[in-house]
Subunit: 315 residues, 2 copies
């Protein structure tokens, strides 16, 4: 979700530069080209306290695999977000694993013995000091005045959709909530009234499962390295859990660290395109109405998950 899509026209641009350059001059800029022109002042730094670095075991060829998660800002899910920092600082996530990969749905990681039909041992004890959240906390007070909103983002799931401080949200007359787009990170839970602690996490690797909105806490999104999760082999057990015969497919998670706890030299730096700025409005419009040369029929609209907020490494 961090890299806006590039049209097939870009492939042709590389294969046949003369023709493509000419046609690009004739067409409107692509969403990517609009973002590339954003003034520096429209990029907002992400606080190191809001970045989490998850290091997986190297792949079969020995290549390192790092997944970087951005945690959600207030007013959303702050109890779970605090728990995730607590769990990371306690080293609780170290040596857990990816236990579930369900095609067109989610990748889930945590204690292999929690909520797992293939469990074979005892659950790992949680650290002290975790918040116990309620179902009320899936929702936040509505703050429409602070929200960038485009009427054509609305769909069947809520009366309004837009972005708040760089995050995709939905709202109605009473409340606002973050939405399940590709790459969003949420908190696994058992049956109501359980709301999960933050020890068990998942990310979306398929079409937005919006039926989960307001039913599970969303706590962040993957801003780099999602391909290390989305390309993992699917589990053949119920819900995509790896079966006993597939335990060797579980990907070990070596460490999970809050970026602000890392030595400065190892600390990743990211920024997002302000969703309140002029460039984001032009980008969103271009996503909804593709006028770059490859396109014939602009759609006239786009759902909120098809307007991913641009996030990039800061220099």
């Amino acid at each position: 979700m961090t890299r806006p899509l590039i049209s097939l026209a870009a492939a042709l641009a590389l294969a046949a530069p003369a023709i493509a350059q000419e046609e690009e001059l004739q067409g409107a800029p692509s969403p990517n080209e609009i973002v590339a022109e954003a003034p520096a002042g429209e990029w907002a730094a992400i606080a190191p306290e809001d970045l989490v670095v998850m290091t997986l075991a190297p792949d079969a060829e020995g290549n390192p695999r790092e997944v970087i998660i951005q945690l959600m800002p207030p007013p959303f899910s702050q109890g779970w977000v605090a728990n995730i920092r607590t769990l990371a600082r306690a080293g609780w996530y170290d040596d857990i694993s990816v236990n579930r990969v369900q095609d067109n749905y989610v990748v889930q990681w945590g204690d292999p013995n929690y909520d797992n039909p293939e469990a074979e041992g005892e659950e790992k004890a949680l650290p002290e000091g975790l918040h116990r959240m309620t179902e009320e906390d899936y929702l936040a007070e509505r703050r429409r005045s602070e929200t960038a909103w485009f009427a054509w983002t609305n769909g069947p799931y809520a009366p309004h959709h837009g972005n708040f401080a760089g995050w995709p949200i939905a709202w109605n007359a009473e409340a606002a909530w973050p939405v399940h787009c590709y790459g969003m990170v949420g908190v696994g839970r058992g049956y109501s009234p359980d709301t999960g602690s933050g020890a068990e996490l998942y990310t979306v690797i398929g079409h937005a499962p919006r039926h989960l909105d307001r039913n599970i806490a969303l706590v962040g999104r993957i801003v780099e390295g999602i391909e290390h999760l989305s390309s993992l082999p699917r589990g053949s057990g119920a819900l995509g859990f790896y079966t006993e015969e597939e335990f060797d497919k579980r990907t070990p998670i070596l460490t999970v660290r809050v970026a602000s706890d890392l030595p400065e030299v190892d600390r990743p730096a990211f920024e997002y395109l302000s969703t309140a700025g002029e460039t984001f409005a032009r980008y969103a419009d271009a996503r909804a109405n593709r006028r770059d040369p490859f396109f014939i029929h602009p759609a006239g609209g786009a759902d909120i998950c098809n307007i991913p907020v641009p996030v990039r490494r800061a220099e």
Copy 2:
């Protein structure tokens, strides 16, 4: 897309059967449970002429990999669909490869030297007798009377969405067209007025890229084995093409055969849940309003790509 999602509750049902069984008795049936109860007469057989078997090279552990595609029925894309049968029967697809895997977007296969920024040789010559299609053919005549439609499936992309003969479509006052959901198969093309032949194909492996609707021909969907494509390593070149250093990641395609051309014993048989039947209406309603025990807030709606048409192996 062929397996409707199972709720997390099902995992708990396996981990803690006593509690879960009790709660299932209290809750409404899940979408899956509704489909499982469909009378036999609501399942419609898919003609062997509409099934294509794509055999990939075995994986690194020697496991076979087979992808089964269902071609689209009239009135949609029939010129390209005919071309795909012609290409398969000419053996043209044999020994091509998967050349592009772009996260949250598409997997593309075809001649590695067609439209590829990493091309290193000559394009493969096409067989005789292919139809040359026009951009008009992306659309079909509107046939609302034959369409199963639920108002709450509508989103920002078109005034109406529904299902026609088991396929997700959108329409306006003038025309109808198939839509880009997860697992749909489309025809790669160059710049307009090129519309592609059917030699270069892709499937959706992320959030529905609905901006491609009416801009590219959709010709079918993957009904089995999509995980063999969606879990492939992502390409690091432009648009997810494999770069020269990654040519060894290209997955060879050994053969592509129309099922009706196979000996009867090797011929796969599939059926889909009629989208005009009572069960589909109940299933779609349950997808939009999850009332099974895991859920607290039913969404009240679902976009067309979040109501995948159930498809299964026929006995």
